[in-house]
């Protein structure tokens, strides 16, 4: 029989990482994601799979424990919310420099500063454009349901190891706190030491006589070598861009007015589309699932088809920069968002679309 449970988003991803064969979780509690650590503690992972779950003394300690675990070729992760993720940026940059795979979860809350504990999407720039120093990218997955919180645990680890990259699940307080149905998979066994040695020859898993010593460091003072390292990283990001773009479209066959939104904003837009379609408006949704790599081509294609694009984010307008790059001037792209932890209402979103693009005095392409 199918294993279906009613779970919070935070619980779903915690169960997801256990079942994906995670070796270690290191984290520090912060609202609205404390259920992740709580669930893992209650799940008795030591007995279930042998997975280590540790509450570190701080976020900075957590990310460096992840660094250590990942260097040994283990499937390791941490989770936090916005202020905690800011603290981790140095460690994340070090992992980018050493190409260590890991899973990171940011259940975003309103900022800047300590901000609020309510949901927000104001960490898009930090996640997608590189929060730490140096030329690097994370693969960023944006779940819009509790099921996706669960699914992206395994997907995240798979991508992290496929490319030796850090994968961030960029969620928010609403997806983390709400409960929905989740279909669970079979337990995947954790990797054995033999598998780690065989599959991850780069890992510091103990030197054997048949190979050189593995050294994991992000420091190389020779600029010629450092440039080579950087070119190698850029080639990897290019491969990811070519192969890993994920998105979902809804009601886009005949769409005239397009919403672009991710995460919980995308859910609000789905309702706005229902309301709009009832009124006879041809509204649709493009939902980026990977924020890096971003679905520029799909935006470009739809931009040629529609009369206006409204980018809906719980921020002052961050993803809109990528939507505009994709649209490349083919159609007007406007922003709507609420700030500081407020989730926009579906009719508010639809009204904004109508005001900007559909009512008489619009300045979209439709009547120019």
């Amino acid at each position: 029989m199918e294993d279906i449970k009613l779970m919070k988003g935070n619980e779903a991803i915690a169960e997801g990482v256990i079942r994906a064969g995670c070796d270690g979780y290191f984290g520090y509690p912060i609202t609205p994601q404390s259920e992740v650590l709580e669930y893992l503690m209650m799940a008795r992972t030591e007995e279930r799979t042998g997975m280590v779950v540790l509450q570190a003394e701080s976020e900075i300690a957590s990310i460096h424990m992840v660094y250590g675990g990942a260097a040994c070729g283990k499937r390791v992760m941490t989770s936090s919310s916005s202020p905690g993720i800011s603290l981790m940026q140095e460690g994340i940059s070090f992992m980018a420099g050493t190409e260590l795979p890991c899973l990171l979860l940011n259940v975003v809350r309103g900022g800047p500063g300590l901000g609020t504990i309510q949901p927000s999407q104001s960490d898009y720039f930090q996640a997608v454009k590189g929060g730490g120093h140096g030329d690097y990218k994370l693969i960023v997955l944006a779940p819009a349901s509790v099921q996706e919180m669960y699914d992206f645990a395994k997907l995240g680890f798979d991508l992290a190891f496929k490319y030796r990259i850090q994968v961030m699940v960029l969620s928010d307080g609403a997806i983390g706190q709400m409960m929905e149905k989740v279909v669970l998979d079979e337990q995947i066994p954790r990797q054995t030491n033999e598998e780690i040695i065989k599959n991850h020859p780069w890992a510091t898993s103990g030197k054997t006589p048949d190979r050189e010593r593995n050294i994991i460091t992000s420091l190389d003072l020779d600029p010629v070598k450092q440039e080579k390292i950087n070119i190698h990283l850029q080639e990897k990001f290019k491969r990811i861009t070519e192969n890993e773009v994920r998105f979902e479209t809804l009601m886009c066959d005949d769409v005239e007015y397009l919403f672009v939104a991710y995460g919980s904003s995308a859910r609000v837009c789905q309702k706005a589309i229902q309301l709009g379609r009832e009124k006879g408006l041809k509204v649709g949704l493009l939902r980026p699932i990977t924020l890096f790599p971003f679905p520029y081509d799909e935006v470009a294609k739809l931009a040629k088809q529609v009369k206006g694009i409204l980018c809906v984010e719980m921020s002052a307008g961050q993803m809109i920069e990528d939507v505009r790059l994709g649209a490349n001037g083919a159609v007007k792209v406007e922003h709507f968002g609420r700030l500081g932890g407020i989730i926009p209402a579906p009719d508010e979103v639809l009204n904004r679309m109508e005001e900007i693009f559909i009512s008489k005095n619009n300045y979209g392409r439709g009547t120019n």
Binding site: I4, L6, T31, P32, T116, I117, Q118, G173, A174, Q177, M178, M179, E180, K181, S264, R267, V268, C269, Q270, K271, A272, I273, Q274, G341, I343, A345, P346, D347, E348
Partner: protein, 188 residues
């Protein structure tokens, strides 16, 4: 079928758990469900609310500002959510402690004296079950067999011996529901 519900009251009245029981029961009945709580500062003393959606289709937004049914358990929540009921929708509230009653004339308004009944039956912890019963009388979206499964799923097993008493309270809630204002011509 899609039923969009807001349940709002004081923390400790069983607002979130009532929503959880509905969501579990809906899931057992093979419906799509979502349960979106207020988890913010208001939960730490003061009002709590939860949006529950039960549907035969994929649920769009778990976050809403218009509801088919509002279940209201205190004055602050009544003030806050009276205008969030869809035209022709339903409001159910417990009149105890309410000084300023709802005034809308485009929705159906019902009362259920759950606090009084719970005190009378000496089952104060079952307060929210009387309310739940009243709701199910008006919107029989969950079959009784699945209500039981919902209770089993959402209550810890050490409380399972209380399930029959809870079911009794649900049945009693159906009886003590009173119509307060019914719109004469149903709106579309």
């Amino acid at each position: 079928m899609t039923e969009e519900i807001i349940i709002a009251g004081f923390g400790g009245q069983g607002v979130l758990s009532m929503g959880k029981i509905l969501a579990y029961a809906g899931m057992m009945q093979n419906k799509e469900v979502s349960w979106m709580p207020s988890y913010g500062p208001e939960m730490r003393g003061g009002t709590a609310n939860v949006t529950v959606i039960l549907s035969d289709e994929r649920i769009s937004s778990p976050i809403l500002n218009k509801f088919d049914t509002a279940i209201i358990l205190n004055q602050q929540s009544l003030d806050k959510f009276e205008n969030s009921v869809k035209k022709g929708g339903i409001m159910i509230y417990d009149p105890s402690g309410i000084t300023s009653h709802p005034t809308r004339t485009d929705i159906n308004i019902y009362t259920v004296e759950a606090a009084d009944e719970a005190a009378k039956q000496n089952f104060k912890k079952g307060f929210n079950m009387y309310i739940l019963g009243a709701f199910l009388k008006l919107k029989p979206v969950i079959e009784p067999a699945f209500m039981r499964k919902g209770l089993e799923k959402s209550l810890p097993s050490r409380h399972h011996h209380l399930i029959p008493e809870n079911e009794k309270a649900i049945e009693r809630g159906k009886e003590i529901l009173k119509a307060k204002y019914i719109i004469s011509t149903p709106l579309n």
